[in-house]
Amino acid sequence: MGAFVGLIKKDLTVALRRKETFVSMVFFAILILFIMNMAIGMGEKISPDMAAGILWVAVLFSSISGLGSTFSMEKTNRCIDGLLISPVHSATVFLAKMTVNLAFLSLAEMIIVPLFLVLYGNHVQSLHLSLLLIILLLNLGLTSIGTLISGITAGSRRNDVLLPILLFPVITPLIAFTIKATGALFAGAPFQEYAPWLKLTAAFALIFSTAGYFLFEHVLREN
């Protein structure tokens, strides 16, 4: 447990000293929200499902730069060797990295989601606090598989290009569930109506956290 907290502290310290990752995450999302708004056109009405789609596309794209830096920062000066020789179980490293990614993604969303509501507010018919639950479940699913795959791409020649190529096909179900749930919420449907989608999102997060927990050992060793 001490090692887990230590790893998180280390990563947070590094990330706070070099703010560019976080800033670029948020900035990228703002750009996508802006471009999508131009694509819709002035005065056009879009469905709640489509509004939900725009929100999660923006979040998904911006999460890439956060996930990509998880390991690339370990590679400068071969810091990762220190991680590898330390007597910490690789599963602990995985959970620590996933937690840090989760924290940063949530932090970025604290800016992105309100901004989305400002820019697209007239397309959203209804809001409910369970949006926070949807966000949390999406974040868990996205960071579980994202942390594992970012470990893979960090060991390749083309980290930044490869990460979305490998990640996007695998998480299409997760994004589909989340968009459906959010669309229903935006349309003002009661919680029971989109609860099944949330269960599936939770199942996705559970499956890929487990997969990461067991497979990360192999990935980490090769970095």
Binding site: G155, I165, V170, P173, A203, V219
Partner: protein
């Protein structure tokens, strides 16, 4: 005395099976009443889909073996299985489109089964892109094994997500359930056997090619310039 190699025997069996299947489908099986002659593409389409899926499952198994044993052989087997599975899935998408054009009046719709197959195709294409992007052999084997496992674990979720979509959304085009006539069933089974034998041959050839490639590379390294 020339000895009979197992691969030669298997190839002869496969050729015979394909010849028999094609003969059976074209001349014995009756023409479907509603869809007409186009329906016959199903006897290729369905067995290819099932065989492709079998090979993705094999890739998943071989990848687990690799992570357990760290034997290079299993990595080659997994990569070859993915290639064959992807080839068959590509053909499934193409034959499906050819069928859909006259029957559904469109090359492509976002029907759940089509969507799920397409996502599957994307996942395993990404696997092959990953293979091209890592130079170190041991590293590539481990990364690809992890990716093949993750991809296959994702398959049930992909199919589930596609099916649930259908229950909530009205279906624009519905797959017509075909009352299987005995002869049609036999045709499907024949093609199934033919494609499995073809897959086995391809797996054999592809893996032995990769093994020779590895030997050649290590010889070149020893020789130096």
């Amino acid at each position: 005395m020339s000895r009979i190699r197992p691969i030669g025997l298997l190839s002869s069996v496969s050729i015979a099976l394909f010849a028999l299947s094609i003969y059976y489908v074209l001349l014995v099986v009756p023409v479907e009443r509603e869809m007409g002659i186009v329906q016959k593409i199903f006897y290729l389409h369905v067995p290819m889909a099932i065989t492709g899926f079998i090979f993705f499952f094999l890739a998943f198994l071989f990848s687990i073996f690799y992570l357990k044993r760290q034997n290079r052989k299993w990595d080659i087997f997994a990569a070859s299985s993915v290639e064959i599975g992807l080839l068959l899935t590509t053909l499934v998408l193409i034959t499906g489109s050819i069928w859909a054009r006259p029957i559904w009046n469109t090359w492509w719709t976002w029907d759940p089964r089509l969507t799920a197959t397409f996502i599957l195709w994307l996942i395993y294409s990404a696997y092959l892109i990953l293979r091209l992007s890592v130079d170190n052999e041991g590293k590539r084997a481990v990364f690809c094994a992890v990716m093949a496992i993750v991809g296959f674990v994702d398959v049930p979720i992909v199919f589930l997500s596609a099916r649930i979509w259908r229950s909530i959304h009205p279906v624009v085009v519905k797959t017509r359930s075909i009352a299987i006539e005995p002869k049609m069933g036999i045709a499907l089974l024949l093609f199934m056997a033919a494609f499995i034998s073809l897959g086995a041959i391809l797996l054999w050839l592809r893996t032995s090619l990769s093994i020779f490639e590895g030997k050649l590379l290590s010889l070149e390294k020893q020789g130096g310039n």
